[in-house]
């Protein structure tokens, strides 16, 4: 396996699109239900927890960039094989692929559940999954540039969803947010931990980095993307706390969607229906990028053609999706992904960094010996 990659100019993407890639992967279905989970841990000071997460993630991403800059042009898969050798490296690479697979699956299931609860109570899982998979496959078959294009275009075409939140903002009772600074530090950290499922996604940087054309400009869009997502989460959480009152929020599963219920215009009522359906456009880039990482990773590690991986994964998903019928199964699944993903996304890079540095040092020494 080649550790450093050579990407054709036709497949390269501008660094500026990293903003959209990062935000699209972070904002999936997590943000719909996140306010409740964060509030359960951190109470009125949830906003503080979110800011702590932002700081932590920024440090993490800096560390990721540091690792990536040690190499010429490579990704997670290459780095792991380089450091841990062929077998362990490929095993770890497989775990990364599985991580993206599980998050893909949890997003798909959660969205199916949302559609069933809000709009079509009797529409079978399989049918919705087929519809979504048609879109995802059609995107991924177009290659990385089409995927990034879709990410960008759908970001633009769903941006208006944010503006509709003006209505709940007008109805917020700001007193619900007071008093501040009441939560203990451990609870704040627990609150930060509760944001982890929502904010995962930036680890795609470690996979997509070789495809970036102008790498020297890559840092700014990534950090802007992180900040943008965090601000989104912050706004949604604060509005939810203010709008639903502390007691109410505890019993509301999908706060964001319910917030949209209050807005209405003279030509349209019940905006939540539209938001739930348009949310398909929000999760599509997320799904497409995850699926691409899976297929691309399989090609990197085991030289399986991407098309074969895509078809196999699609068939697997269409089979497994039928077994998830109840709410608790899906939330179990999501919790599992959140826990297991936490270690991969939030802790693993910090473990990787010293090893990479040691290895690098040793190589340098060797190099100076021989010359």
């Amino acid at each position: 396996m080649e550790i450093n990659l050579k990407v054709k100019p036709g497949n390269q993407i501008q660094a500026f699109y990293l903003f959209f890639i990062i935000t699209s992967l972070q904002i999936g279905v997590g943000i719909i239900g996140a306010p409740r989970f964060i509030y359960m841990e951190a109470g009125r000071d949830s906003w503080l927890s979110i800011l702590i997460s932002l700081v932590y993630i920024c440090i993490l991403v800096m560390c990721m960039f540091y690792i990536l800059n040690q190499y010429e042009n490579t990704d997670y898969f290459g780095i792991q094989v380089d450091i841990f050798g062929k077998w362990l490296g490929k095993l770890l690479g497989t775990i990364i692929i599985l991580h993206f697979g599980f998050s893909f699956f949890s997003i798909l299931l959660t969205y199916i559940e949302v559609i069933q609860l809000f709009i079509y109570h009797a529409l079978p899982n399989l049918l919705i999954a087929i519809l979504i998979m048609i879109l995802v496959l059609y995107t991924v078959f177009g290659g990385i540039r089409v995927i990034v294009g879709i990410t960008f275009l759908l970001f633009l075409s769903t941006f208006w969803l944010l503006l509709v939140l003006y209505d709940p903002i007008l109805r917020v009772n700001w007193l619900n947010l007071l008093p501040i600074f009441q939560t203990s530090f451990t609870d704040l950290l627990k609150g930060s931990r509760a944001t982890s499922y929502t904010l995962t996604g930036f680890e795609i940087l470690m996979v997509i980095y070789p495809f970036i054309q102008n790498k020297e400009k890559a840092k700014l869009p990534v950090f802007l993307g992180l900040i943008y997502t965090t601000i989104m989460l912050l706004i949604v959480t604060i509005i939810s706390i203010g709008y639903f009152s502390p007691e109410g929020l505890k019993s509301i599963d999908w706060a964001l969607l319910i917030l949209y219920k209050s807005a209405s215009f003279t030509f349209i009522e019940r905006l939540d229906y539209i938001v739930v359906t348009v949310w398909l456009m929000v999760i599509l880039p997320n799904l497409a990028l995850s699926l691409w990482v899976m297929s691309y990773g399989m090609k990197r590690l085991y030289k399986v053609p991407q098309k074969i991986t895509l078809w196999i994964i699609t068939i697997l998903i269409l089979i497994i999706v039928n077994f998830f019928q109840y709410d608790y199964q899906i939330s179990d699944m999501t919790n599992f992904v959140g826990k297991y993903g936490f270690w991969i996304t939030y802790v693993y890079p910090f473990i990787l960094l010293p090893i990479v540095l040691v290895k690098k040092r040793r190589k340098k020494d060797k190099g100076s010996d021989t010359t």
């Binding site: 919705i128 294009g149 349209i268 009522e269 359906t277 398909l280």
Partner: protein
């Protein structure tokens, strides 16, 4: 469709039949033109030399033939010279003479209006081009009519079209490369571009594609366009076809490539983007505020036309909660008499409207007007009174039809109208989620498209903010001094920005 032409285009040395007796020549020709009474073969005796003149009479300009060829030939003796090919070439007041040795080239040139002279005993035959080609005179543009700007449109004659273009772009940079396409009946095809502006890679790609077209014949520019497009299976036109010389030359001057085909009253330009089909040259003729407004209006109309009928179906079949109560009551009242489900109602009405449109396009203009009136009354009144559709739907369908007709490109308008039907059906099955599914599929489809290898959605994706003022809106010309970066022209600048936007003091 995409056969490779065999490279070994052998210089087919046909059967050299000369020298020959004139009677034998006549025999051979009449055998070749069996059951074709149009070949005129006449004998003359000049200076004791037998001379044959043969041609197809309706393919040649008879006056010219009579005055410039036949008269001098018959009166040749005055010069007291020997009658040979060389002497004839010198004497006849025509500039298009050439000599032929083999039978095949004589035959193929006979049918495109050459007159042949054969002097008995010579090793070659003499041919003069005197073609007479019937074509329509120049007329006003009909399918793309505009209020402002030039009114002229292309016609079926290639030479007239080239003439128009040469007069609009009076520059030596303008290149008109010639290609012959079609094996059974080869047609002249011209690749038109500005040497100093057009992107070299694009020119190379187009040249390659034109050379690789392997077909028996191309009927029209629109058909050649379909042979050349990047993907044949998809929904949207990828090259921009137009019958307006001003639109054609504007695109060529912006660095695009144009293609003209013999016998076709339209040319196409490439590469195109989704948005170029919504641009009209009238946007440039208007002041920039008006141009911007109408361009945005077209974008909105396209979106509206696609979305409105499916939304009606989805809202009335499943998500009626999205309609406000007041409106819901009105719709309910108007739909009370209708016995069909919304999807059937919409499909019925759209079908009627498409019938009307198609009938209007096929019928002669005088009858076409009556069609409009009949259609208006039938659809507008009778359908509602008979309880087939609701009033509101008629308004919506009529609006969406109107909106689809504002696109300057007829082909693109057709694509838009066609897209609606799958969306209506999707909305009928899945409601709002079906519409979102359909729209997203459309977005993916369009993102995947390319035109001459360039992305179809440029400048939106890949994003080039500086080109937005050429695509989505218009800025005053003082802020519009560069060509679109999207097509990578060789020269970006059109004029100096400094002079254009110079600010002068009061009373200076």
């Amino acid at each position: 469709m995409w056969g490779k032409k065999s490279k070994k285009n052998k210089e087919s040395k046909g059967t050299a039949i000369f020298p020959i007796k004139i009677d034998t020549l006549e025999q051979i020709l009449s055998d070749k033109f069996e059951k074709n009474p149009d070949l005129k073969f006449s004998h003359y005796k000049i200076f004791d030399t037998n001379v044959a003149v043969f041609f197809i009479d309706y393919q040649i300009d008879v006056d010219k033939f009579q005055n410039s060829l036949l008269d001098p030939l018959v009166n040749f003796e005055i010069n007291q010279e020997k009658l040979t090919n060389q002497n004839l070439l010198n004497e006849l007041p025509l500039n298009s003479g050439s000599v032929y040795e083999d039978l095949e080239s004589i035959l193929s040139n006979l049918i495109i209006g050459e007159v042949f002279i054969y002097i008995e005993g010579e090793k070659k035959a003499l041919g003069y081009q005197l073609p007479m080609k019937e074509s329509r005179s120049l007329e006003k543009a009909e399918t793309e009519s505009l209020v402002l700007g030039p009114k002229i449109s292309f016609t079926e004659s290639l030479s007239k079209n080239l003439n128009i273009i040469r007069w609009i772009i009076k520059s030596t940079d303008l290149v008109m490369e010639e290609f012959k396409i079609g094996k059974v009946s080869p047609k002249d095809v011209r690749l038109v571009y500005m040497k100093s502006i057009a992107n070299e890679v694009d020119v190379q790609t187009m040249r390659q594609r034109l050379k690789e077209v392997d077909t028996d014949q191309v009927e029209d520019a629109i058909i050649l366009k379909q042979y050349l497009e990047d993907s044949q299976t998809n929904f949207f036109p990828q090259f921009d076809i137009t019958e307006r010389p001003d639109r054609f030359t504007y695109n060529v001057l912006q660095g695009k490539l144009g293609v003209l085909v013999e016998n076709s009253p339209a040319g196409f330009t490439a590469p195109a983007t989704l948005f170029s089909f919504l641009e009209s040259t009238e946007d440039l003729y208007m002041r920039w505020q008006g141009g911007t407004f109408y361009r945005l209006l077209r974008f909105f109309a396209m979106f509206f036309s696609i979305i409105i009928a499916p939304t009606y179906v989805a809202a009335l079949s499943y998500q009626y909660a999205i309609i406000p109560t007041q409106l819901l009551i009105t719709i309910g009242q108007s739909r009370a008499a209708v016995p069909f489900p919304p999807i059937f109602e919409v499909l019925l009405l759209e079908f009627m409207l498409e019938l009307l449109r198609e009938a209007g396009a096929r019928l002669p203009t005088k009858v076409g007007q009556t069609m409009g009136i009949v259609g208006g009354i039938v659809i507008g009144q009778a359908a509602v009174e008979a309880g087939l559709t609701s009033n509101i739907l008629i308004i919506l369908v009529a609006m969406s039809a109107l909106a689809s007709f504002v696109t300057p490109s007829y082909l693109f308008g057709t694509s838009i109208r066609l897209v609606r039907f799958p969306l209506i059906i999707l909305a009928g099955f899945f409601g709002l989620i079906g519409i979102v599914f359909g729209i997203t599929l459309l977005i993916i489809h369009v993102t995947r498209l390319t035109s001459l290898g360039r992305p179809y959605l440029v400048p939106l994706y890949p994003l080039r903010l500086k080109d937005f003022n050429k695509v989505f809106f218009r800025t005053p010309f003082s802020h519009n001094n560069k060509r679109a970066r999207s097509y990578r022209p060789k020269i970006l600048k059109r004029y100096s920005e400094k002079d254009a936007s110079k600010i002068r003091d009061i009373d200076e």
